[in-house]
């Protein structure tokens, strides 16, 4: 057996690659294909049985009813804001980790950043629900400054999601900045640039692809989220909730599939734009 494999490298490679390619092709792309096909079916409104006749009604509803546009833009807005907040918070942390901290502190910080990922998503989301509630921790901290907890709503959703996805932003930026040679920073300062100047004209341009790589995570994870908004989002709903309600409540799988194509299409455009920045090499 091993002799045959040794003599025929093509067979070896084939055996090695078949399972993962099957996984990618059948389980992953196949599922996406099934999603598109389902979105072209109809549904019996009373019994909820799927009717396998081709129709574009789901997509027409999706584009003609204003509420779905509103929800799409709200979701995009949330995802964009979460990404911006995460980038603003993550960049200084990653810079400190990569360029300032001693190797020992650096290791500790990497562990600290990754630590929240060990806790369950739900625990963290419900913790924010508790903190943002009436008389909760946020209100208690804000009251001395004459402010109040934002309560449940869009702000709370953005805060919670930004917290949840922060590690996914820090790690790529950290990796990107670590690859930035110290000599460049020294050269910049030798040539008389102040640190602000070095930051703007040397560090940021070189770290930009890493930043974009991180944004792919925060943006796509926020786009697909529907749990945090249920827990802290008040009356708001995102695309994920529409999908969930149509699968879980209305049992309208075809329409759910149609809604689910929106994030897929958005992410395809996003990735196409990102590819131009070279950020995909940073993943």
């Amino acid at each position: 057996m091993s002799a045959i494999l040794h003599r025929r490298p093509g067979l070896r490679l084939g055996l090695l690659l078949t399972p993962p390619m099957l996984w990618l092709g059948v389980a992953y792309l196949g599922a996406l294909g099934a999603l598109f096909i389902t979105s072209l079916w109809g549904q019996n409104s009373f019994t909820g049985e799927i009717e396998r006749s081709w129709t574009l009604d789901n997509f027409r509803d999706l584009f003609q009813l204003e509420v779905y546009r509103t929800i799409t833009f709200r979701t995009l807005g949330i995802a964009a804001l979460v990404t911006i907040v995460d980038a603003a918070v993550a960049f200084p942390i990653a810079l400190y980790m990569a360029k300032v901290a001693s190797p020992r502190v650096q290791r500790l910080l990497v562990i600290a950043v990754l630590m929240p990922l060990w806790a369950s998503y739900l625990v963290k989301a419900f913790a924010w629900r508790g903190m943002l509630s009436e008389g909760g921790l946020v209100a208690w901290l804000a009251v001395p400054f004459g402010l109040d907890s934002p309560g449940y709503g869009l702000t709370a959703t953005i805060i919670t999601l930004a917290y949840l996805w922060l590690p996914y932003m820090i790690i790529p930026i950290f990796a990107g900045l670590e690859r930035l040679p110290d000599s460049l920073l020294e050269a910049s300062s030798d040539l008389g640039a102040r640190s602000g100047h070095t930051m703007r004209h040397v560090v940021l341009p070189l770290a930009f692809p890493a930043l974009v790589a991180g944004s792919i995570f925060t943006f796509s994870l926020s786009m697909g989220d529907y749990i945090a908004v249920r827990i802290v989002g008040g009356t708001n709903q995102m695309l994920g909730n529409v999908v969930y309600d149509n699968v879980g409540a209305a049992n309208n799988l075809p329409f759910a599939a149609a809604v689910a194509t929106i994030p897929v299409v958005v992410m395809l455009f996003y990735l196409a734009a990102v590819r131009r920045t070279g950020a995909l090499d940073n993943l």
Binding site: L29, L32, F36, S39, L40, G42, Q43, N44, S45, F46, T47, G48, E49, E51, T55, L56, D57, N58, F59, R60, D61, L62, F63, L65, V67, T70, I71, R129, S133, E134, G135, G136, G151, Y152, I231, G233, G234, T235, Q237, V242, D245, V247, G248, A249, A250, N251, N252, T261, V264, V265, L268, F269, L271, A272, R275
Partner: protein, 399 residues
Amino acid sequence: MRKISVLAGACALALVVAGCGSSGDNGTTTTAGGEFEVPDLPMLDSLGENEGEVSILAWPYYAEDGTADPAADWVTPFEKATGCEASVKYFQTSDEAVTLFKTGEYDVVSASGDASLRLIASGDVEPVNTDLVESYADIYPFLKDREWNSIDGQMYGVPHGYGANVLMWRTDIVKPAPTSWSAVFEPDSPHAGKITAYDNAIYIADAALYLMNTQPDLGIKHPYALDEEQLQAAIDVLKTQKEMVSEYWSDYLKEEQAFTTGDTVIGTTWQGIANFLKGEKVKVESILPEEGSTGWSDTWMVGANSESKNCAYAWMDHIASAEVNAQVAEYYGESPANSKACDEITDPTFCESYHAGDEAYADQIWYWTTPIEKCLDGRTDVKCTDYSRWTQAWTEVKG
């Protein structure tokens, strides 16, 4: 890889464009004349040996096994008596019940009126041979052969109990005590931002009930029979309400927490939640508002493809028996379905306060039922809005 993703993108785009450009009649499909066809399924002729396990899909609190509250346990005695090991799954809305039951993983379900007909029409539940359910004889006659649990005189389940959706508020914050649903629907409420509502399309009926009393000109006679114009009026009421809602609830644990912290101070609830909160010393009170309310009448139904039908029948017999029906009714806070249950209930005023067996009172509750195209109030000159329209309207309300 890149080629594939570009192709996929192009496909998606093509779909989108085609979707925009196509036109045709309205997409909803309904059965002829708003009536529905009932699949012809056999019922059990006789009981056999118990299968050893049964999977129960139930409203919260309906199948307690003592883990949440040691005093509330009617699953363990059932398991001991019948040898059927029970696994229980709670659902939060009737829609969820229908979807979960369709998976075929459950043998028996407690279906409210807005779920039961859908399950019957889709062939997911089969007729029930009530002769095989000993407890059935003691069920109140006015719960038998109703439009939500039977077809042409054939029962599709065993009635469990009924009750009204009630109005709950925090007594320390909401003063004076409300008496009407206007407290949650009237614009400019002093409690704006702290109101809650039930997160389901069926809640549209609550707004319709409110309109029945405040705007008689609309001519709403039945909150589940709304023509397009009446539905629009209900949607407007709900949109006004939305501005004052802190969050919608369908998860009862979430509502319990929101009332405890004070993030929500007034809104619709189930009596069981109010009872639980009072037990936790949260200052809440609940009433059936003066204009009446929507409510539910639940029926235990057996899955057509169930492989544990004997255990399912055993469960229905157990849960509808006077003793157990009394326990559930008292714990949950609803009227029992068994006419002898009131003798078993420990609180002597309980049955009186829930008007158990009072047919006239029971008729004042607008039980959840599935809206269909054929108007349930008997109108024949207009088409009523069906449930898929309600679902869509509810998404619109939430925005």
